[in-house]
Amino acid sequence: MDNQGKIKIQCGHLHKTFHAKNRKQDEVNEVIRDFNLQVRENEFVVLFGPGQCGKTTILNILAGLEEKNSGTVVVNDIEVTGPRQDRGMVYQTTALFPWLKVIDNVAFGPKMQGMKHSDWKKKAQYYIDLVGLTGFEKTYPVKLSGGMQQRVGIARAYCNDPEVIFMDEPFGHLDAQTRYLMEEEIEKICNGEKRTVVFVTNNIEEAIYLADRIVLLTNTPTHVDKEYVVDIPRPRDYTSPGFLALREEITARIDTTNL
């Protein structure tokens, strides 16, 4: 927890309301109310909250994919007004381009920015190797399993050299065992290449396993309920006493506030 680290994300008093036009009346749905978050360079922050809370909306606003009603969002010293390549995103359902082979998906960012063929090829290959997909460069996404597709998504985000990476429940659709594997992998990747990561999940084990800091969110209208600094040494063991104690503490907190 180096408190000296440079601030990468500064988000203050964020508000977001959705207006759904109904036949009879205008439905107003307040999703985010006064959400505040500060993330330092190379920190791995997990936003953890109940199912229907506005976690994805928060990430989309931070990434510039959705507009906010009010509040300030500054990422990497730049006020967020729209999507920018200094922010990367790994999606819930794999948002891979199905018409592109693995290598072209991974190299999409560099290619768009006009990188030379030999350069992007080398770079993409490096990240494909890093996520353990060597040999699948020429495969189309549909032919990959869910876990492998998520690996491509991770490689694609990293290959674009973003300053900040957002991950929106990337393992939500995987089975419990594949999930453990992917959690180990992402930890390895993050260790190898330090990045600032904001990771969204509703899985408590995943949150504790990965996070430097867990930000517990409330139900909608979402704001921060409590923060937990996780200082269990890595690699973490899901069944170590410290791990289980923290898990129990957070679970108890959710039970008292949400149920």
């Binding site: 990434a63 994919l65 381009f97 018409w99 999409f108 694609r156």
Partner: protein, 225 residues
């Protein structure tokens, strides 16, 4: 004879492949029809895709074109025949026009659908990876519309093939449609059936060529084992 026996038809069919009916042999007649389809369908594909994608991409274009298009759309291609003859006479242009109208609406609609239904998540992903508007268009919107466009092309090709026959039956001196018409006028049922067989074979081949083309261009949609 009300209905000739199949062997007779087949023999005649093989015979006419190399022997003239009217000015040309059957192969040439069929090629004439195919050429007309190629021109008419080619034009309707090209302009239909461009218009459909433009309508999907720009709300303004859609707002302008849509009302006009909605009026034209329900009119079958064949209903244009009388107008086409008045406008363009009975030359090739008329036939191209009828074929064009036969396939146009479907291609426009499908191209429009494909463009509108692009997954916004993919678009966002591309922008986050640094793609600009033009790049989003060519690298996300167009490819994801391909499957839809192909569905439209497939249907339109078969309606175009129907339209060419109708056009030829009305006014021409060559083509598969002309053969059928000739058979009717001379009371030669065998000739009519020979024409029909040729049409069936070509229709079947065209549909399959499209399928193979789609498999090549949209290979990413095929699930693995």
């Amino acid at each position: 004879m009300f209905f000739p026996n199949p062997i007779e038809v087949l023999t005649y069919f093989v015979h006419t492949l190399t022997h003239k009916i009217g000015k040309y042999n059957l192969t040439m007649h069929t090629l004439f029809s195919l050429k007309r389809v190629a021109v008419g369908f080619g034009l309707s594909s090209l302009s239909g895709i461009i218009l459909g994608v433009a309508m999907g991409y720009s709300k303004t274009i859609n707002a302008i074109v849509r009302p006009l298009f909605n009026i034209i759309r329900p009119i079958p291609g064949l209903a244009w025949i009388p107008l086409a003859i008045l406008w363009f006479g009975i030359g090739e242009t008329t036939k191209y026009f009828i074929i064009f109208m036969g396939g146009f609406a479907n291609i426009v609609l499908n191209s429009y659908d494909g463009t509108v239904k692009v997954n916004p998540v993919l678009e966002g992903a591309a922008r986050l990876l640094g793609a600009n508007d033009v790049q989003v268009f060519f690298h996300v919107i167009l490819p994801s519309a391909t499957t839809y466009i192909f569905a439209g092309l497939q249907v339109s090709l078969s309606t175009s093939w129907m339209a060419v026959l109708a056009a030829e039956m009305i006014s021409s001196y060559e083509g598969a449609g002309w053969i059928i018409n000739m058979g009717m006028q001379t009371g030669d049922t065998t000739l009519i059936l020979v024409g029909m067989v040729a049409i069936a074979i070509v229709g079947f081949l065209l549909a399959n060529i499209m399928r193979i083309l789609e498999r090549g261009l949209c290979s990413w949609t095929i699930r693995g084992r």
